[in-house]
């Protein structure tokens, strides 16, 4: 089975793009399934289910959804294989700009949209910088010039990725994306697999449930802001 990890900031169009890809996968007679990871709630499962494909939802609650993803993706992979799927797509929440669900040897896609502003590509961490394919959505809302400027900023953040414009609503560009999905490597197991980039250390007292503010309550991996003295 082919596994594809899809990341990207909230509401960037991940599901909209995947819906179009899944439709064209189905048209070619193949079987797809989807897993959606999110934090608190999601409606994406209903959307995927309406396409008539099997879906799993993982809500991470008070954990970082990407950390939760790593602990659970193997299980989901086994589930997909047991259903004899040809393709399993895993959509992550994209809430943490520092975490990314990309795994070495597994096709990694990042979805961002044209409305996020020019500086966004450099602000998004490994989920963009380590992706194999960067999909840019909502090109219909901006001018060609803005699309070009934005794509150029993406190129600077990830020079080797394939950058594609896909429209989540009309599906324009989805068939090319689908053909790239179908060239993804087969993943039979993730046991011993390696993340493309480490997830940040989250081991301070607040990770463990502390709510009080103040030095004396801070333990473990704590990093301090450097207050700069600006000359007026």
């Amino acid at each position: 089975m082919k596994l594809v990890t899809i990341s990207g900031p909230p509401s960037s169009g991940k599901t909209a793009v995947l819906v179009n890809v899944i439709k064209s996968i189905k048209n070619s007679g193949l079987h797809a399934g989807a897993v959606k990871y999110d934090c608190l709630a999601t409606d994406d499962d209903a959307l995927f289910r309406s396409l008539g494909i099997p879906v799993q939802t993982g809500l991470s609650g008070n954990l970082c959804p990407d950390h939760y993803f790593v602990s659970n993706i193997e299980e989901c992979l086994k589930w997909g294989i047991s259903l004899n799927l040809d393709l399993l797509v895993s959509e992550s929440a994209g809430l943490c700009n520092r975490c990314s669900p990309h795994i070495k040897g597994v096709l990694a896609v990042c979805v961002i949209d044209n409305l996020m502003g020019v500086t966004t590509p450099k602000k998004i961490g490994p989920m963009l910088k380590f992706a194999d394919i960067v999909v840019i959505t909502k090109g219909d809302i901006v001018s060609q010039a803005e699309r070009e400027v934005f794509a150029f900023q993406v190129r600077r953040a990830n020079a080797k990725a394939k950058i594609m414009h896909v429209n989540g609503i009309t599906g324009q560009g989805a068939s090319e994306l689908t053909s790239l999905f179908l060239q993804a490597p087969e993943t039979e197991t993730l046991d011993g697999g390696i993340l493309r980039f480490s997830m940040p250390a989250a081991l301070c007292s607040y990770c463990l449930g502390e709510t009080k503010i103040g030095m004396e309550h801070q333990l473990g991996n704590v990093k301090r802001i450097k207050i700069k003295q600006e000359q007026p």
Partner: protein, 331 residues
């Protein structure tokens, strides 16, 4: 790649100015211009890489890709386009659009039809070089052939320059920064004078002037259009030009058109304006999402164009008077 690590920062940034910007994206600023790039990158704490969400290996890979791109687009030229062909799909009700239309280099074609009939969609199909993968099911050929799929996604070679109908900016930059970034993305050199030229031209088209420091999001509809017209005219060498409703927002449309429509290009423009429609040698009539008819502009029509322009000039004079606060009691 190894070579570049041994070059001194001062030399490198002089040779490739975009590199300064590239490294600043990764939070790297150069203090010692005499150090080599390799030394500088070695000198960064592990923590710095972790904070940036990238490791040294991936950063070098990106640098390599970025440099390849800079050098590549300097040598290569976009392939020439002598014709494009539109092969019909279907209208909004799914009825086949039986048409195969070839547009030659040097031709101007207008697109007319009611609001919502699909004029912009036709332009979008051409920009995208549709391969039966848009709502209309149309297919576009370039020089009689299916365009190279790589070309569709290429950021370097743009076969099509498009002046779209929606012109609302979302980026938080000034006019000068925006035009600069756009020129940079097209790997154009001598950007600074070009930016000034574009802004000057745009101001000739628009009414109320704007400056290089005006935020793009603060431009009016007409000013945005004027800026995009000048930007397209000066920055793009694309062989195909698509124009969507240049007549809106009160810019000088004849001046705009003369900037955009240069020889040797394939031009298509969607319009509601009779003068613009008759200026083209052919017009496509769109109805319900499909090309319903193709009309060649007759010589009678061309003669009427002169009359139309007289009417238009009268109208424009009235508009100027209105804009400057005069009464229109005498016409």
């Amino acid at each position: 790649m190894i070579d570049i690590l041994e070059k001194k920062i001062g030399h490198l940034t002089a040779e490739f100015p975009p590199l300064t910007e590239f490294f600043s994206d990764y939070g790297i600023t150069f203090n010692d211009l005499h150090a080599t790039l390799g030394e500088t990158l070695e000198g960064l704490a592990e923590e710095h890489y972790e904070d940036m969400g990238i490791d040294r290996e991936k950063l070098l890979e990106n640098l390599d890709g970025f440099l390849q791109r800079v050098t590549l687009s300097e040598i290569a030229e976009a392939p020439t386009v002598s014709e494009i062909t539109i092969i019909g799909g279907h209208d909004k009700n799914g009825h086949p659009e039986e048409i195969e239309l070839t547009l030659l280099r040097g031709s101007v074609t207008s697109i007319v039809g009611p609001t919502g009939s699909g004029k912009s969609r036709l332009l979008a199909d051409i920009e995208w070089m549709a391969q039966n993968d848009t709502p209309t099911g149309r297919t576009i050929r370039v020089n009689g052939q299916k365009p190279d799929p790589e070309l569709r996604f290429s950021l370097e070679y743009k076969l099509v320059a498009q002046l779209s109908q929606n012109m609302n900016f979302v980026m938080d930059t000034t006019v000068a920064e925006f035009v600069f970034m756009h020129a940079e993305s097209r790997m154009i050199s001598a950007i600074d004078t070009l930016v000034a030229d574009i802004i000057a031209q745009a101001n000739l088209l628009a009414g109320e002037p704007f400056t290089a420091q005006t935020p793009v999001t603060a431009l009016s509809g007409g000013q945005s259009r004027a800026l995009m017209i000048a930007d397209t005219a000066f920055l793009s060498s694309s062989p195909v030009v698509l124009i969507d409703e240049i007549e809106n927002a009160g810019i000088d449309r004849k001046k705009a058109l003369s900037l955009l429509v240069r020889k040797e290009k394939i031009v298509l423009m969607a319009t509601h304006d009779p003068i613009l429609a008759l200026m083209a040698e052919r017009r496509l009539i769109i109805k319900n999402g499909g090309i319903q008819k193709i009309v060649t502009t007759t010589s009678r029509e061309k003669e009427n164009l002169i009359k139309l322009e007289e009417i238009d000039n009268k109208f424009l004079a009235l508009r100027t008077r209105l804009r400057s606060g005069e009464m229109l009691e005498e016409l």
